[in-house]
C-alpha cells in the first residue's frame, strides 16, 4: 500500500487503522514490512469478515478511503541473546519485522511458525532469511511437522536457555504460549489484537487487563508481557459482535452472489 507518511515512520510492532469505503468500519492491521523507496507498507490479512473480504477484492491501483498510522508503540528491539519468535497464521507476517529487527541487533533468532495447513504458513522465505533456525508446524501435517507450534517450543525450552520470546498470532495461541513459557520463567512478549475503533486512546474499546491494571492496547501496547495478560477476558471480549459480524458477512456474501448472478444474465 502506498502511504508515504506511514512508510517513513513505521517501526516493527506498529499497526495502522484503515477504512475500505465511506460506510466502512475502522479496523487495525499490523504493518508487516515497509519500502522507503516505494513509500509503501505491506499489510497481511486473512479474509474472515466483510471488511477483510472487501479489502481482498482490491487489486493494484485501487484505493481505500482512509488509512492512519503508524499507531501503537514499537517493539523493544535490543540485544537479548537467544530469542524465539512464535508465529501463527497472519501473525507470522506481523512477527517478521520484529524478528528482522532482532536479527539486525545481533540476536540468535529461532523461529517457530505454524498454521492449519501449508497454505496458512505464510512469509516462509522471509522468515527463513532472517532466522538462525526455523521450525514449521501444521495441524494436518501438510508442511513441516504435524502438531502445534507449542510442541516445538516446549522441546526447545526443555533443552536450552532462552532469553526472550515473542508470540504473535491468534489470541488462543498467544495464551497457550504464555502459559507454557511461564513455567520456564522466560520473558514473553505478545502482540494483542482486540476490537478497536479509533486506535488513538479515545474509546477504550481495546482495553485489556494486564497485571490487574486496565491498559489500552492502542496506546499502551499493542505488545504486553504475556505472563500478565488476562487472556480469558480478551477472548470473551473478542466475541462481543459475533452475531453482527456474521450478519454483515452474510448480507455481503448474498449481495456478491446476487452480483455474479446478475452479470451472467
Amino acid at each position: 500500500m502506498k502511504t508515504p507518511l506511514i512508510a517513513k515512520k513505521a517501526l516493527p510492532g506498529q499497526f495502522v487503522i484503515l477504512r475500505v469505503h465511506e460506510k466502512g468500519e475502522r479496523i487495525p492491521l499490523t504493518i508487516a514490512d515497509k519500502n522507503l523507496e516505494k513509500e509503501s507498507i505491506t499489510i497481511v490479512f486473512q479474509e474472515v469478515g466483510k471488511t477483510t473480504k472487501l479489502l481482498g477484492r482490491l487489486g493494484v491501483g485501487d484505493k481505500i478511503s482512509d488509512i492512519v498510522g503508524p499507531l501503537g508503540n514499537p517493539s523493544e528491539i535490543e540485544k537479548f541473546g537467544v530469542v524465539i519468535g512464535v508465529g501463527g497464521g497472519v501473525g507470522i507476517a506481523a512477527l517478521y519485522p520484529i524478528l528482522k529487527g532482532l536479527k539486525e541487533k545481533g540476536n540468535y533468532v529461532i523461529s517457530i511458525i505454524g498454521g492449519r495447513s501449508s497454505d496458512y504458513v505464510i512469509f516462509r522465505e522471509e522468515i527463513k532469511n532472517i532466522s538462525d533456525e526455523i521450525y514449521i508446524t501444521t495441524d494436518d501435517g501438510s508442511l513441516g511437522r504435524k502438531g502445534l507450534v507449542t510442541d516445538v517450543l516446549k522441546e526447545i525450552l526443555e533443552e536450552r536457555k532462552i532469553d526472550r520470546i515473542w508470540a504473535v498470532g491468534p489470541t488462543i495461541m498467544m495464551k497457550v504460549v504464555s502459559d507454557l513459557t511461564k513455567n520456564y520463567g522466560v520473558p514473553t512478549i505478545v502482540s494483542l489484537n482486540p476490537i478497536m475503533v479509533d486506535g488513538t486512546g479515545m474509546c477504550g474499546g481495546c482495553r485489556v487487563t494486564v497485571g490487574d491494571k486496565i491498559k489500552f492496547t492502542c496506546i499502551d501496547g499493542p505488545e504486553f508481557d504475556g505472563h500478565l495478560v488476562d487472556f480469558d477476558e480478551l477472548l470473551a471480549r473478542l466475541k462481543t459482535y459475533k452475531e453482527e459480524e456474521a450478519l454483515a458477512l452474510r448480507l455481503f456474501e448474498e449481495s456478491e452472489v446476487g452480483k455474479v448472478g446478475h452479470s451472467k444474465n
Partner: protein, 461 residues
C-alpha cells in the same frame, strides 16, 4: 408595549416520534417566531448578556438587526466573533452564560438568545454563505492540531486575517467532538460539515488521518510552521476502576457515541460498524455526555434507560434543555447512587451493577455538595448494558512525544490563560486539552485568545 415574560417556544419533534429517530429534536424558529422573540430584547445599553459570552458576541447588535429583518447583516455581526454560530446556537449552555445575565430575567424568562443565533445561522446556511474578503496575506504558516471547536476557531480567526493555516485531524472526518461526540438529534452532522466547509472556504487546509504524536510530532511540525496550536480536546475516557469493568456490554461514553455518531452504527448493517444495545441500560454520570448517551441508547431500542448519578438533580452539570428533553423522552433518573462493582455471567456478559446509596455532605472543590456513601446500603441493580460517562482527560500521545511541554498530572497542558502560550516556544494550546472537559463555546473562547497572541507573535517579528 407590555413585556412578554416568556420565551417564544421553539417547535420540536413530538416525543413519541423523536424517540424512534435520530432527527433533530428542536426544529428552529420560523421567521415570524424569530421576529416575536427578537422584539422582546430591551437593547440594554450596558449589554449584560455580552459579558456572559465567552466569545463576546455583540448580542443586542445582532438581535436589533433581526428586528429590522436584516438577517444577512445579523449573521455577519455574529461571525465577527463566532466562526461556528449554527453549532453554538444549538449546543451552548445559554442558561448559565448570556441568558443568565439578561435583564428580562428579573421579570420572567430571558430572551432566547441561542435560538435567535441559530435562526440567523440556519438562514445563512440555507441561503449560502458569503466568504469575507481576506485583507492582507502574511508569509506565515500555522499548524493547528485537532479540528474541534478550539482548532476550527483558531484556524478561522487566523485565516481571516491572512495567515496560512493547516489543520491536522486524527480521525477520517473533521469536527472533533462535534462529529464524534454530540449526537445527530442535537447537532446534525450536515450542520458541522457546513461549518467546516466555511472554515475551509477561508483558505484553511485540513489534513485528516494524521495522528500528531504518532504520524508526526510537534517538533517536526515546528520545522515547517511558524507556530503550532494544540486543540486536541479531552478525548481519553475515564473509567470507574471498579471490579468487572471489562465485562461485555460496558462502554465508555466516548466509544458508544463514536460508534453511533462518527461511524453511524445506528445505520448498521448499511454502515459496517456494529453496536450492541441492552434491554436495560445504566448510564453513569450527570453531564451532557451522559444525557447524550442515554437518549442515544433509547433511540437505538433500549427498553429502559437509567441515569445513575451520585449527587442530585441540582448538582447535575448537564444543560437544562438536555435534562428536560431526556425526562420527556422517558429516561429514568436515579440520584444519590454510586457504582461499587459490575456483575457478570459465566460468559463475561454484564448482568447487573452493584450500587451504594449516597447522601450529600459539605460542598467540595467544585462548589457542589459532596456525596458521602451510606454504609450497608449496597444493592444490585439489574442492567445488561452500561455506559460510563464520568468525564474525559486529554489524550497522552502529544505530551508523551513532546518532553518539553508542561502538563499537570491529568495530562492537561499548562498554559498562560491570557495568551494561550504553553511552556514550549511557539506552541499554544486551548480548549479542553488545557482546561479539562468544558464546553464548545469555552474552547472557542480559548481559541480566540490563542489566535490573537499567535498573530501578535508572528507579525511583530
Amino acid at each position: 408595549m407590555a413585556i412578554v415574560k416568556t420565551k417564544t417556544p421553539i417547535p420540536e419533534q413530538p416525543v413519541e416520534e423523536r424517540i424512534k429517530n435520530f432527527d433533530e429534536v428542536a426544529l428552529g424558529y420560523t421567521e415570524e417566531q424569530a421576529l416575536i422573540e427578537a422584539s422582546r430584547c430591551l437593547q440594554c445599553k450596558d449589554a449584560p448578556c455580552v459579558k456572559g459570552c465567552p466569545v463576546n458576541i455583540d448580542i443586542p447588535g445582532f438581535i436589533r438587526l433581526i428586528k429590522e429583518k436584516k438577517y444577512d447583516e445579523a449573521i455577519k455581526k455574529i461571525k465577527e466573533s463566532n466562526n461556528l454560530p449554527a453549532t453554538t446556537g444549538r449546543v451552548c449552555p445559554q442558561e448559565t452564560q448570556c441568558e443568565a445575565l439578561c435583564t428580562l430575567k428579573k421579570v420572567g424568562e430571558p430572551v432566547a438568545i441561542g435560538r435567535l443565533e441559530r435562526f440567523v445561522a440556519d438562514y445563512e446556511l440555507n441561503k449560502g454563505y458569503e466568504i469575507p474578503p481576506i485583507v492582507k496575506k502574511y508569509d506565515k504558516k500555522v499548524a493547528v492540531v485537532g479540528s474541534g471547536p478550539a482548532g476550527l476557531t483558531v484556524a478561522g480567526d487566523l485565516a481571516r486575517i491572512g495567515i496560512e493555516v493547516s489543520i491536522f485531524e486524527a480521525f477520517h472526518e473533521p469536527g472533533g467532538v462535534l462529529i464524534y461526540g454530540i449526537p445527530e438529534f442535537r447537532l446534525p452532522k450536515r450542520i458541522v460539515r457546513a461549518e467546516v466547509e466555511y472554515i475551509k472556504s477561508l483558505g484553511v487546509e485540513i489534513f485528516t488521518n494524521v495522528v500528531v504524536g504518532r504520524s508526526v510530532t510537534i517538533d517536526e511540525l515546528l520545522k515547517e510552521y511558524d507556530a503550532v496550536f494544540i486543540g486536541t480536546g479531552a478525548g481519553a475516557p475515564q473509567f470507574l476502576n471498579i471490579p468487572g469493568e471489562n465485562l461485555i456490554g460496558i462502554y465508555s461514553a466516548n466509544e458508544f457515541l463514536t460508534r453511533v455518531n462518527l461511524m453511524k452504527a445506528y445505520k448498521f448493517p448499511e454502515y459496517d460498524t456494529p453496536i450492541k444495545i441492552g434491554k436495560i441500560v445504566g448510564v453513569i454520570g450527570g453531564g451532557n455526555v451522559a444525557m447524550d448517551a442515554a437518549r442515544t441508547a433509547l433511540r437505538l431500542g433500549a427498553k429502559e434507560v437509567h441515569i445513575l448519578y451520585r449527587r442530585t438533580e441540582e448538582e447535575m452539570p448537564a444543560r437544562y434543555e438536555e435534562i428536560v428533553h431526556a425526562k420527556e423522552e422517558g429516561i429514568i433518573f436515579n440520584f444519590l447512587v454510586s457504582p461499587v462493582k459490575f456483575v457478570g455471567d459465566e460468559k463475561g456478559h454484564l448482568i447487573g451493577i452493584e450500587l451504594q446509596r449516597m447522601t450529600l455532605g459539605e460542598p467540595d472543590g467544585s462548589g457542589r455538595r459532596r456525596p458521602i456513601p451510606i454504609e450497608g446500603s449496597n444493592f444490585v441493580f439489574p442492567i445488561d448494558m452500561a455506559i460510563v460517562a464520568i468525564g474525559t482527560v486529554p489524550n497522552p500521545l502529544i505530551s508523551m512525544t513532546t518532553p518539553d511541554l508542561s502538563v499537570n498530572k491529568n495530562g492537561t497542558i499548562l498554559i498562560d490563560k491570557e495568551t494561550g502560550k504553553t511552556s514550549k516556544d511557539r506552541v499554544f494550546a486551548g480548549g479542553d486539552v488545557a482546561s479539562g472537559s468544558a464546553t464548545v463555546i469555552n474552547a472557542m473562547g480559548a481559541g480566540k485568545v490563542a489566535a490573537k497572541s499567535i498573530f501578535k507573535l508572528l507579525t511583530e517579528e
